[in-house]
């Protein structure tokens, strides 16, 4: 029986449902002490003085440290040399750039004493002009003497992708034009486990436990930072409580914890509270997209122009710098738009840094193009489904080289018309339209809106050069597969999973190739001392890249095992086939040998055929892929809006996904559910906000509304399958799809419901208050 495609329950679960998982804050190596930050209360200020005396004298305190104590250490790695003024110090050096920026570190015997002592540190500030938003920062740029957040840089704006000199001919010649300015709201990933790290710099070397998505990457960076050998530095990501992109960043405590451990000669732990994490862990999204579209009376889009302004916060992160490149590349979405001009300005602001959050630049692209398609539908009076149908890239047009960025985005495969058709079938679209017509004139019923989102995104990161651009050593992924003497299998993967079910899916793939019971296959990861160099889990790459590595490792080990089995059966290896549990001569069940015998023989020289070495059933693959994969889908949302309060209520949410081959439908659905939940959350509930003084106003889960079970509906699921040619499995990746595709369906539904009130667009999140204002002011900006 093939396990690829089967609903296999997870290998990961037994530990996690019995409290036997091990997360970083669960670890307390002998002598562990606790470190906490004194954080800036100012968004932009000079530091006049820091008085640590009282804190140093407090009970249980081992030390209080400021920038001056670490001035000989390098800056946080990642940014290119030409951006030297933006290279972040480990602690604030003379000035602060955002509220929450660490100014000092207190180390104490436990977390209570550390928190007590941190309260006793007095920091005197001299305020500087605060630029808490893209608009404020760009306005300051208009004045040559205006404030610059990093004076040595002399600018608040980095033109990452330069603007085209002129609009394209296609744009100029298009019969009709429309424009839209979209704010893509700043979000927090809110992995339920906040960032935590324990460092133990022992005489024999450095050990770091971190809640991280890419431990090998971290190990390499730590070694470069401290000038130590990779072989004397071990990084372990134990169980990791969610990531969503927020755990591939270089938070300063990653470097401070080892240094403090080295000085104090004991393990040092940082474990953020949620309130700290909300200002300290990097946020995501935070773009403005200025969109212009050229189209005709038939709803055909001729040209698209998009200027993306990406907020990158006060101390830009190296991933954050490039997010808008992905947005720009994907701006054309599923559509055969002849001309797409997309350029990017990164904007420094007095806010928490911006970096990857589930989808990382692609949700913003899907949002802007799907809002634009609804604007075209509205302007031409053509149904939104029909406008999309008329503009789709057709199934026979792949590979599709997107004009937005031909070097980056060459779509591999897809069937967008089939996805939309399946969505409309599940929705019963025509009867929904009739129902809507009746309901919206019946004042006794909630307003009804229908929203569509036909999206595609970049997954399976990536071809050579892609992740290197974000500082990784490569873009491949590694897998080692070894058969143990008893015929059980140990697989080590370079991924570093945190909820994806990787140990299950990789075992499914190997089981199919080897004919070994999945219960006898164990998958391990996330320890740089026991796992070969890997890259990590991000960019929906697990199955598409590492799954391919596991498959190819299994095929090679099977080939080698077949030569041993053939020796035992006195047959030709080519005449053998894999059956459940072993090898047999094709069609001859009496001439068979079990894996147990083959495995044992593989370690016994006297049992091996000439020319075969002991230990041969052990193979490592560093899997390179020639291109990204481009999953796609069609999502639909039916929303009801209370006419009195403006409260939106999702009545139906339908997801049709095309991720190519599905390894495990249970886990694939789980990924979509989780992503869609985050996308709906961005559309309706979540936004990290600052006041005019740069003070964050969403620092707890009271103010930042992560939805609960009561806030979300059951999702209806559909599927279309087009295989990717990028890997032999045909699998495209599914981790980020939901978060990419979900927001525009929700917003399009709300705007559809409000269209009779003159509403053309509303920025997320669509709170009841915002909708109520739109209803009462007939769409006028409030």
């Amino acid at each position: 029986m093939s396990l690829v495609g089967a609903r296999v329950i997870r290998k990961e679960d037994p530990n996690l449902i019995t409290g036997r998982g091990v997360f970083v804050d669960d670890l307390d190596p002998s002598g562990t002490v606790f470190a906490t930050f004194v954080r800036s209360t100012e968004a932009h200020a000079e530091i006049i003085s820091i008085d640590t005396a009282e804190a140093e004298a407090a009970p249980g305190v081992l030390g209080v440290y400021t920038f001056d104590d670490f001035s000989e250490l390098p800056r946080v790695p990642g940014l290119p040399p030409e951006l030297a003024p933006l290279h972040r110090p480990l602690l604030a050096n003379g000035s602060v750039k955002f509220v929450g920026e660490p100014v000092a570190v207190v180390v104490a015997m436990d977390r209570y004493k550390a928190a007590d002592a941190a309260e006793l540190v007095t920091v005197e500030y001299s305020p500087l002009p605060v630029l808490p938003s893209i608009d404020a920062s760009m306005a300051a740029m208009a004045d040559p003497e205006g404030p610059r957040i990093h004076p040595l840089l002399q600018t608040n704006a980095l033109p990452i992708l330069p603007a085209p000199e002129a609009p394209s001919e296609e744009f100029v010649n298009a019969p009709r034009h429309a424009a839209l300015r979209i704010k893509n709201n700043r979000c927090s990933a809110v992995a339920i486990e906040a960032f935590a790290v324990v460092a133990d710099w022992r005489p024999e070397g450095l050990v770091v436990w971190a809640t991280y998505q890419a431990p090998h990457h971290l190990r390499n960076q730590l070694c470069a930072f401290f000038g130590i050998d990779a072989s004397e530095c071990r990084v372990i990501a134990p169980d990791v409580g969610g990531g969503f992109g927020s755990k591939i960043n270089f938070y300063v405590e990653i470097f401070l914890a080892p240094e403090l451990s080295r000085r104090l000669r004991r393990p040092v732990k940082f474990a953020l509270t949620r309130s700290e994490a909300m200002v300290h862990m990097h946020h995501g999204r935070a773009q403005i997209n200025e969109v212009e579209v050229g189209f005709d009376d038939d709803g055909i889009v001729h040209a698209l122009r998009v200027h993306t302004l990406q907020d990158i916060g006060g101390w830009p992160d190296h991933t954050g710098l490039g997010l808008g490149v992905l947005t720009s590349a994907m701006a054309g979405g599923c559509y055969r738009i002849p001309s797409v001009q997309a350029w990017l300005t990164d904007v420094i602001t007095n806010t928490t840094p911006i970096a990857a959050y589930r989808g990382a630049g692609r949700p913003e692209a899907a949002f802007l193009i799907e809002r634009t398609m609804d604007i075209v539908a509205d302007e031409t009076g053509i149904d939104p489904a029909e406008v999309r149908r008329r503009n789709f890239i057709q199934p026979d047009q792949f590979p599709w080289v997107t004009p937005a960025n031909p070097d980056l985005a060459v779509y591999d495969s897809g069937d967008y018309p089939a996805g939309l058709a399946e969505l409309l079938r599940i929705l019963e679209y025509d009867s929904l339209l009739s129902e809507q017509a009746k309901r919206n004139v019946d004042e006794s019923q909630p307003l009804m809106g229908i929203g569509l989102s036909c999206w595609t995104e970049i997954a399976g990161f990536g071809p050579p050069g892609s992740l290197e651009g974000f500082g990784h050593v490569g873009s491949w992924e590694s897998a080692n597969l070894k058969v143990q003497p008893d015929g059980s299998v140990l697989i080590s993967v370079g991924l570093s999973p945190h909820g994806q079910g990787t140990y299950t899916t990789m075992a499914q793939i190997a089981a199919d190739e080897l004919g070994i019971d999945i219960d006898r296959i164990v998958v391990r990861s996330s320890d740089t001392e026991t796992v070969q160099q890997g890259i990590g889990t991000m960019g929906s790459r697990g199955v598409a890249v590492c799954g391919e590595a596991v498959r190819n490792a299994a095929i090679e080990v099977r080939r080698r095992a077949a030569t041993i089995a053939a020796h035992q059966l006195e047959a030709n290896p080519d005449d053998l086939e894999v059956v459940d549990g072993g090898f047999q001569v094709k069609g001859t069940s009496t001439k068979s040998t079990p894996w147990r015998d083959v495995a044992l023989a593989s370690f016994q020289n006297l049992q091996l055929p000439d020319g075969t070495d002991a230990g041969t059933l052990d193979h490592t693959v560093f899997q390179t892929v020639p291109n990204f994969s481009f999953p796609s889908g069609a999502y639909g949302c039916v929303i009801g809006i209370d006419r009195e309060t403006g409260a939106p209520s999702i009545e139906r949410y339908v997801c049709v996904d095309d991720c190519g081959t599905v390894i495990n439908p249970l886990l694939a659905e789980g990924q979509v559910h989780g992503g869609v939940a985050q996308g709906i959350a961005q559309a309706l509930f979540e936004e990290v906000t600052y006041d005019d003084h740069g003070q964050p106003t969403t620092t707890t889960l009271i103010d930042y509304l992560v939805p609960s079970a009561a806030d979300l509906p059951d999702f209806e699921m559909g599927r279309v399958v087009t295989l990717t040619p990028v890997n032999s499995l045909g699998a495209k990746g599914i981790g980020e799809s939901g978060a990419v595709g979900a927001p525009p369906a929700v917003v399009n539904a709300v705007v559809d419901a409000l269209s009779a009130f003159g509403v053309r667009h509303l920025d997320m999140p669509l709170t009841p208050e915002k909708i109520w204002h739109a209803l009462s002011t007939h769409g006028t900006e409030v």
Binding site: T18, G19, A191, E193, A677, S708, A710, L712, D714, F715
Partner: protein, 173 residues
């Protein structure tokens, strides 16, 4: 946590967790969740926020689900608590709720899961056959960032439909 001999106002506290009494002097301000994790060494109970919103620290106290970050250790003096480590039977067999979460993929990263399991166990002890909406309402105080909740609801329904897979009831008392 480290040695607390320098701390003021230590109070003797005795809490029975999963049938084992843990008695020691603690600071009066110490949260029950820190007592469970650091004093009793039971790290299955997690901390996901500092405002009692996320529910990762949910335990059964006196049979009902309680967020252990909202209770001081001294307030639990003399009480009996069940944590996630106490859910399985003595033979290691999973409770119906544990098995439901496994069968229906009710967890991904697993960090909120102990709290979810305890909240769901508390729900089923008072309402053994909850509707999907009742489950969603009952778990409103527990945040999961991975699953989107639908499979958690499925998991609790699985447990409701398979009560016989539960180990001996009443291990909390």
């Amino acid at each position: 946590m480290g040695n607390s001999t320098t701390a003021a106002r230590l109070v003797e506290v005795g809490v029975t967790i999963n049938g084992v009494e843990h008695r020691m002097p603690v600071e009066a301000r110490e949260l029950l969740v820190h007592f469970i994790r650091s004093r009793a060494g039971l790290t299955g109970t997690h901390i996901g926020c500092d405002t009692s919103n996320c529910g990762a620290c949910t335990v059964l106290l006196g049979g009902g689900a309680v967020k252990s970050c909202t209770v001081l250790a001294v307030q639990a003096d003399g009480d009996s608590i069940t944590t996630v480590e106490g859910l399985a039977g003595d033979d290691g067999s999973f409770s119906a709720v544990q098995e439901g979460f496994r069968q229906e993929h009710g967890l991904q990263c697993g960090f909120c899961t102990p709290g979810m399991l305890m909240a769901a166990t508390g729900l089923l002890s008072t309402n053994p056959d909850p509707s999907r909406d009742e489950i969603r309402e009952a778990l409103e105080g527990n945040i999961c960032r991975c699953t989107g909740y639908q499979m958690i609801v499925n998991s609790v329904r699985w447990a409701a439909e398979h009560p016989d897979s539960a180990p001996t009831e009443g291990s909390a008392s």
